[in-house]
């Protein structure tokens, strides 16, 4: 049973075709990395997976849910599909603890003691136990991003999506976030990430998809894709990034 199945997905923004007939699937516990130049459609594809962007054609099944835009069905899907954004998007008026407890309390209707226990547990997972009572603006970018990961993790999702989560960080803060993600992958989380961190994709991802012009131009196990690019576009992309 695959954790993610995308078939025949297309999308346009006005006259611009951003996704063309995308097909892919991912097994439970695997990590898929989407790479490509900006504008190639990789972030849009990721955002389609939890319904933040609408698809025009095709089907997506993720975390045991068929994507539908009926509000209640979409909320059920999102309970099982977490997303972490480039700009963290923590709620600045809430402490770290309350940021994490918000969705378990409101969506899963957990009593606050249970939500707090869960929040402390996931904070420990990302190595920030001592920040429970801090406000987001008291944390570094890397710490904020790890809290954002913990916030998603608190819902115990089946699949987690990562949208260029290290792109806004200084190089010295990127490492701590990548380590957090690597630990998550080792714990068996199914993950899809859009990334510019080629060495991370090569060493940690199971499958890498190279997107070009709204299509999946090449898709292969990570080692093969980087070692033996089959197309000129991927060769040129890799030589420009490595």
């Amino acid at each position: 049973m695959s954790a993610l199945a995308v078939s025949g997905v297309s999308k346009r923004f006005g006259s611009l075709q951003v996704l063309r007939d995308i097909n892919l699937s991912l097994e439970k516990g695997q990590m898929l990395a989407l790479i490509g130049r900006s504008g190639s459609g990789k972030s849009t594809l990721l955002r389609c997976m939890n319904g933040l962007e609408r698809i025009d054609a095709g089907h997506i099944t993720i975390g045991g849910h068929a994507l539908s835009y009926a509000p209640a069905a979409l909320r059920r899907l999102r309970q099982d599909v977490g997303i972490v954004f480039q700009a963290y998007n923590l709620f600045p008026h809430l402490t770290v603890g309350r940021n994490i407890m918000l969705a378990p309390r409101l969506v899963l209707r957990w009593p606050s003691a249970r939500a707090e226990a869960r929040a402390r547990e996931v904070l420990a997972t990302v190595g920030l136990s001592e920040k429970f009572d801090a406000y987001p603006n008291q944390l570094s970018g890397g710490q904020q991003q790890r809290v954002a990961i913990a916030r998603s993790l608190a819902m115990a999702p089946q699949v987690m999506l990562f949208d260029e989560v290290t792109s806004a960080l200084d190089p010295e803060l990127t490492g701590e976030v990548l380590i957090t993600m690597e630990n998550l992958a080792r714990s068996g989380m199914t993950m899809v990430l859009v990334t510019h961190e080629m060495s991370f994709a090569r060493s940690i991802a199971h499958i890498v998809a190279f997107m070009h012009d709204g299509r999946i131009h090449e898709i292969a196990p990570a080692k093969d894709l980087f070692a033996r690019p089959r197309t000129e576009e991927l060769r040129r992309f890799l030589s420009s990034t490595l």
């Binding site: 933040l52 509000p71 999102r78 977490g82 954004f85 998007n89 709620f91 008026h93 918000l102 409101l106």
Partner: protein, 217 residues
């Protein structure tokens, strides 16, 4: 002809109570209505937005004085003669709701779109997103302009005197009719209005400075 004395100041202070009651009622009820209008205006419904806009634009683009006349004398023609306090309160409530709705709509829209998106992605319902994520953030931004409007509301409550409500302004007019010492009487009224409004203005400036500091982070 008697002259303006301490008794008259006392009378003005008693009447000031009514200025305060009127402002508080208008602010609380008008605020509740304004908040609802602001939420409707920033929600998805075109129909709701259209209706709210008609209400807001009607009260924003006609003088408060005319609104008060319409409510007091106009409704009176149809047999709904409201007591002066009620008429004045209804007028000020409508007026406050329209202005506060637009002030708060701006504050709601100034919360970054990514905050909606993050809450949406966590499977919160649209009402949960508004209540737990957007409104608390909008509230901080809203405090200085809201206090500013409250000052305006206190001053504009003086118009209630024209529908026969005995608040500070009408009391001053009555005393002037008996004493013919307009400068003394209205200066005294002005000082009372100033003492009501000035602390609020200061408070608003303090909030603004605090907000400045917190956003500079």
């Amino acid at each position: 002809m008697r002259s303006f004395g301490l008794n008259d100041v006392w009378y003005l202070l008693i009447a000031t109570q009514w200025t305060i009651y009127l402002t508080v009622v208008a602010f609380l009820v008008g605020g509740a209505l304004g908040l609802w209008l602001a939420v409707v205006r920033t929600g998805g419904s075109r129909f709701g937005n259209g209706l709210a806009l008609v209400w807001i634009r009607s009260f924003q683009n006609t003088p408060l004085l005319v609104q008060l006349f319409l409510i007091y004398y106009g409704l009176g023609l149809f047999g709904f003669r409201l007591p002066p306090f009620v008429a004045a309160a209804v007028g000020l409530i409508c007026y406050a709701s329209a202005f506060l709705a637009e002030i708060w709509r701006g504050c709601i829209l100034s919360v970054p779109r990514q905050q909606w998106e993050a809450a949406d992605a966590l499977a919160l319902t649209p009402w949960q997103i508004r209540w737990y994520v957007i409104l608390p953030q909008a509230l901080r931004i809203a405090i200085p302009p809201t206090v500013g409007f409250l000052v305006k509301l206190i001053k504009n409550s003086s118009l209630a005197s024209v529908v026969g409500m005995t608040e500070l302004m009408r009391a001053a007019t009555a005393i002037n009719n008996a004493t013919y010492q307009p400068f003394k009487v209205f200066l005294c009224a002005a000082i009372i209005y100033f003492l009501l409004c000035f602390p609020l203005t200061m408070l608003s400036r303090r909030f603004e400075r605090q907000l400045d500091v917190s956003t500079r982070g």
